[in-house]
Symmetry: C4
Subunit: 253 residues, 4 copies
């Protein structure tokens, strides 16, 4: 009985260690719905968060359209892409995007993968995506493009194993996002609101830049110092102001 109590305690301790805080699960569920609501995700794409208590784990939904995700759909993954509590549920085939970026970037605590229409053109042309206004200062140091064909030849375009995830993470480097040629984008952040906010304003910046370039060949972008100063000043206050709004609308509260 004491042993059982010890085991029970051990079990409780282990659960306390691995079970992510409710606030994290709530924010991650909201992130799925916010990104669908704001047109960054449609029936495809996903968002994940690093486990705040087990930093070599991350949380992501089972294979499901973002708008339908509830906290009960969130699974825990290790960096080899194994789900620890899938119970037979289908997984996103591109979970290796998340796994390998968390492995490579200890500063990253949230990752979005999307196919937002306005971003695709910047991955398939020679036109670099640049910050046309202060809301996109986070791309002041550039947006790399990952072309899966270069290293892997003819593929089904999906980052569906560890080597492809690692190649993507290498292309991302220390940047805030990476375009995937003929596929989509990956955006990272140190919090869920930052990864979500960057995804939303990256998409907006792409639309604005497209329109600006249609108007004129002479477009003035934020310069490197301006972009850096916006980031140093707190990058849109960590998106806390719109996050409150987005979450309230997405969760129907």
């Amino acid at each position: 009985m004491a042993g059982s109590a010890v085991l029970g305690l051990g079990s409780i301790v282990r659960v306390q260690q691995s079970q992510p805080p409710a606030a994290l699960l709530e924010d991650l569920t909201a992130a799925y719905r916010v990104l669908a609501q704001e047109g960054v995700l449609d029936g495809f794409g996903h968002v994940s968060a690093r486990h705040s208590l087990s930093p070599s784990r991350f949380i992501m939904s089972r294979s499901l359209a973002p708008e339908l995700v509830t906290s009960g759909d969130l699974l825990e993954f290790d960096f080899d892409g194994n789900a620890l509590n899938a119970a037979g549920r289908a997984l996103y085939s591109e979970r290796f995007i998340h796994a390998e970026i968390y492995r490579a970037r200890s500063d990253v605590r949230a990752i979005v993968h999307a196919h937002a229409p306005s971003l695709i053109p910047f991955g398939v042309t020679d036109v670099p995506l640049r910050p046309v206004y202060h809301m996109a200062a986070f791309i002041g140091s550039g947006v790399p493009i990952f072309d899966i064909r270069k290293q892997f030849g003819g593929t089904d375009m999906l980052v569906s194993d560890a080597p492809k995830g690692q190649a993507l993470a290498r292309t991302l480097g220390d940047k805030t996002c990476v375009l995937m040629r003929g596929h989509g984008v990956v955006v990272v952040g140190s919090t869920i609101p930052i990864a979500v906010g960057r995804s939303i304003y990256l998409e907006l910046n792409a639309r604005i830049q497209t329109q600006a370039m249609a108007l004129s060949k002479n477009v003035t972008y934020l310069d490197a110092e301006e972009a850096r100063r916006v980031m140093d000043a707190g990058e849109n206050r960590g998106y806390e102001r719109p996050w409150e709004l987005w979450k309230m609308k997405a969760m129907g509260k």
Copy 2:
């Protein structure tokens, strides 16, 4: 009374043979509403499904705006465009699009005809619609254009009889879709979710390609091998993930 019972039984048997499964009718009703919800159909256009138990028949709504279709509006047609249970209700004049494609393509089990605005430009210019991202790999082998004027001269633009339907089916050939000059598009698939999913992503691909071409003259499309590999890998998993979402939203559940 025995005779009546026999007749009744015969009638029941016949109904059991020809009555399409409830799941097919439910999915077809959902398809009308999903395509309206996603902006592929407006007050015009239609979608059909091959009868799963009577493969030389297909199911389509009576003449009605897509968003209003319920299962009670679905009629059964033969390949000559005759409705078997119209009971005087008006029919879509372009039902011959569906009849002749089902006749010509035994692999096709669902067909969408739409006037989606972003697709029209690719039918009236010399710019081919090409897969700008993996979601549109199904057009990797090209999108033919049907110009009704070539064979039929000055018309009211409608594919409203068998010869026009046959000409359209010939232009479609073995492809997944065909643009109709100055009119719209026809998209086919081996299931309702595939025909619907292709219609939605064809429209998105057209918007993205238009934006990419506005940005630069150098646009990189999926190459033939990439497109084929996406298809071989299951073409977006048969659209099962977004279909669950689309259907839930369209049916208000």
Copy 3:
């Protein structure tokens, strides 16, 4: 008492003569809301219908944002722009658009005046609006442009008196619509659904044509015979199919 009864009867007879049928008022109210719902009208613009029993009168709302119009806001006007039952309520200053077109065109029974954004560019450039698909066959014979400056010099751009209305009606001629430079558009039809349907598809055609011209310098439009045959075949069946949908959605039924 008999005299009173006679007066009462006379009054009833007069009301029966001038009171438009309830169906007309219902359709006109719906037209305001449909056009707002479909993005043709915003807080400005208006739609009118010729009085079916008093053909030298027309019905239009008091000065009110279209989305707010109810049957109680509909007033009766003569061709001099006088409201017969305004009871002090404010009137649209541009009612002369409607008055003078009804006076000049006995075939017209419904008129829409709108500022739809996608149409404005075709009124301020040298690019003619042309039918890029069969849904816009009604502009197969061309869209004239009314430039108020030519006859009236510097103005506040409004067609706010009879001479300006007459000049606009002359520019319209026997066409289905007329663009107003730096202002908007007027669309006419022989029924409310036709005027509304044309307005909606004119706006769509403008968007499609803009995109087609961005893609290529070689755009194929409906030719004159095709446009004529679409019209002869019933012009989209008089828009009865989408009208049922639009009205149901706009009236919340």
Copy 4:
């Protein structure tokens, strides 16, 4: 007790002097929601109104996403950007935009600051924003561009102190709006509906002008006399007609 009564009375008198009329607070709350509803504001941006009884004060929300603002969030500010009743609540860092424009422009009674996507391109290119239709006659005398870099060098792009606010106010001059390079726009008016209406139609005009310029190099704008006459005629009747609609929709009544 008498002293207490006197103090109480003094307090009441002071409150009566400084408390803005309920109608002003209601309209300002509505303005936040209308501008979000119409796509001019997203999670950022703000609108203010001059205090109708204390003209050297203005009213603005605490730091909050526009769509969430209620009358309880409205604070009173002096022209140095001090909030008089913040009670520790966070403030918009760019309140100096409002303070310095109210100080410089006694005719201004309402100010909007927004990042509307369609306006950004006109602040980062050499293409002037011009009135393409009568709804934007209020920019007939031109739209100046404020480039913070010219006077302040490398910054975080925010107008977050008095000197920057004063520089912005100087660039605005006597105009109705000013674009901010790589940032957004400020729109002013003599009433809340006018500042809101101008913001909405400025955004629409930008979209229309972008499309018109894509169609043709020859775009005809309102000329100076036309723009002036539209303004002299009451500038869209002070936007009273759409304001009634916008407010009703935004406040859910």
